[in-house]
């Protein structure tokens, strides 16, 4: 049992160390401007366009679930004027970014990890090294940068969609009008909320891409190794998102 615990701890430290080290190397290349533009464009399309439907679905449905439960109750209690405010704060501060993060982990993070893990176990990464190309620059930089660029855009679109879905749900489940909903929604959203939301989404996008690439890069063995790397990328990304969210909440809203 102690050995199993020891192995788990060693694996945790190794993974964390690899993520931090790869993060610094990636950042160095980004600052030095060593970015492959074509690859960056491809990854942006992959990150943004391909994941948009699932992100909108998850944020939209979460908004419907939350709004349908609170809107009628608030109207009953005489707080109808605050439904838009509550839903918009919830979406902009939390649901938009976090649910988009979860969608990106399932859609993009897992695919990045399995792609790079497959490249590792089929010696494609060794081939990159033998050809004297830095694998971190070639593989990590465009993927992490695309996460940093595309995640805020996704979160903005998803949050707007969430607020609109909330409006539709409110008017369908209560007697409140769109005007009443949006009048109260605008009151609730401050510049600080939008700024924190964008900052958070940058952190989420970069972290998901970095963790996924790092877990894939560390893979060993065959198909089992690819599976383990993908699983590790998803779990680590989920935990990282929650930790980031906690840090942002404590820093900006305590």
């Amino acid at each position: 049992m102690f050995r199993a615990f020891g192995n788990q701890f060693t694996d945790f430290v190794t993974t964390l160390g690899a993520i931090i080290e790869n993060g610094f190397i990636t950042l160095k290349y980004i600052i030095m401007g060593q970015i492959e533009r074509k690859e960056l464009m491809d990854q942006c399309v992959r990150f943004g366009i391909s994941s948009l439907p699932i992100t909108l679905s998850i944020v939209g449905m979460t908004s419907i679930i939350v709004t349908s439960q609170v809107a009628s109750e608030m109207v009953k209690q005489g707080g109808g004027n605050f439904v838009g405010l509550l839903v918009s704060i919830l979406i902009v501060r939390e649901v938009g970014a976090v649910m988009s993060g979860f969608a990106i982990i399932s859609m993009i993070g897992s695919s990045l990890a399995s792609e790079i893990a497959t490249m590792r176990v089929t010696e494609q990464i060794d081939a990159i090294q033998v050809l004297k190309v830095n694998p971190i620059r070639y593989l990590f930089v465009p993927r992490v940068l695309s996460g940093i660029i595309m995640m805020p855009l996704l979160v903005i679109i998803a949050s707007a969609f969430g607020v609109i879905t909330g409006a539709v749900t409110t008017t369908l489940t209560t007697e409140l009008t769109y005007k009443a909903y949006f009048d109260s929604a605008w009151i609730g959203i401050y510049m600080k909320d939008l700024s924190v939301c964008l900052l958070k989404s940058v952190a989420f996008g970069g972290t998901i891409a970095l963790i996924s690439c790092s877990c894939g890069y560390q893979a060993s063995g065959g198909a089992k190794g690819v599976g383990l790397a993908t699983n590790k990328a998803v779990v680590w990304s989920l935990v990282a998102i929650v930790i980031w969210d906690l840090i942002f909440s404590i820093t900006f809203f305590f």
Binding site: Q129, V130, L131, V133
Partner: protein
């Protein structure tokens, strides 16, 4: 001397996979590294091209690039054949602005002709047979005009005719590039048809060194067991 290996030692999990081995490869020479599976043959290649770190010893190679042909080709499956071959010329910092698109097309075409695969530039690795993938990986390896070419089991998993074709291309590339080559293999035809000399590894040590003809004639228990593929003898597979 193109490759000089002295007192090379590599330890994995407290097991000496390579134990103080030394050998040389002359300019334009092809050396075969032979032995049972797990005898450390591929480790020699990975140490020479810098994929793993040695624990002791010295590796000196002549100036110029070192290329490696991987056992299962290791072509980039998201890139087509042309992009695979021109990868180093496009992505390496010291080469990336040296060639125009026209130059790259010309180089790719030349290298493909050299391995007998003209006209497949737009195909993806998954659309090629194992033998064709191997030849594309040859073309990718020689695109930077390397001085040293390392082959990791180049005929593994191929049918006998494809193996013969690959062996012919190893000889042809050696003649065209005059590079020093190391071929890791345990296939007799690859040894006799491509190598000028060979070393045999067992338990991390070199147990035989000579030409393929000398190996076939040698009256040592190691070479006899290897040539006859016998279970009886001093070498035992790790089960």
């Amino acid at each position: 001397m193109s490759i000089k290996v002295r007192n090379l030692t590599k330890i994995f999990d407290e097991i000496k996979v390579l134990d103080d081995i030394s050998f040389d490869v002359a300019d334009g020479e092809t050396l075969a590294v032979v032995g049972f599976s797990g005898s450390g043959k591929s480790t020699v290649l990975k140490l020479i091209c810098g994929l793993i770190e040695k624990d002791a010893g010295e590796i000196i190679t002549s100036e110029g690039d070192i290329a490696m042909v991987f056992q299962y080709s290791a072509l980039f499956d998201s890139l087509n054949v042309a992009d695979n071959i021109s990868f180093a010329l496009r992505e390496r910092r010291d080469l990336r602005n040296k060639y125009s698109e026209e130059d790259l097309k010309e180089i790719v075409s030349q290298k493909l002709e050299l391995v007998g695969l003209g006209g497949i530039e737009r195909k993806f690795p998954s659309e090629l047979s194992g033998g064709m993938q191997k030849r594309v990986s040859f073309a990718r390896a020689i695109v930077t005009e390397p001085k040293t070419i390392l082959y990791d089991e180049p005929t593994a998993g191929l049918d006998p005719i494809s193996s013969t074709l690959i062996e012919d291309y190893i000889v042809r590339l050696q003649q065209e590039t005059n590079a020093s080559s190391i071929v890791v293999t345990h296939q007799m035809s690859t040894i006799t048809r491509t190598a000028n000399r060979l070393i045999m590894l067992y338990n991390g040590k070199i147990v035989f060194e000579g030409t393929p003809e000398e190996m076939l004639r040698a009256d040592t228990p190691y070479t006899k067991q290897f040539v006859t593929a016998s279970l009886e003898g001093p070498m035992h597979m790790v089960s």
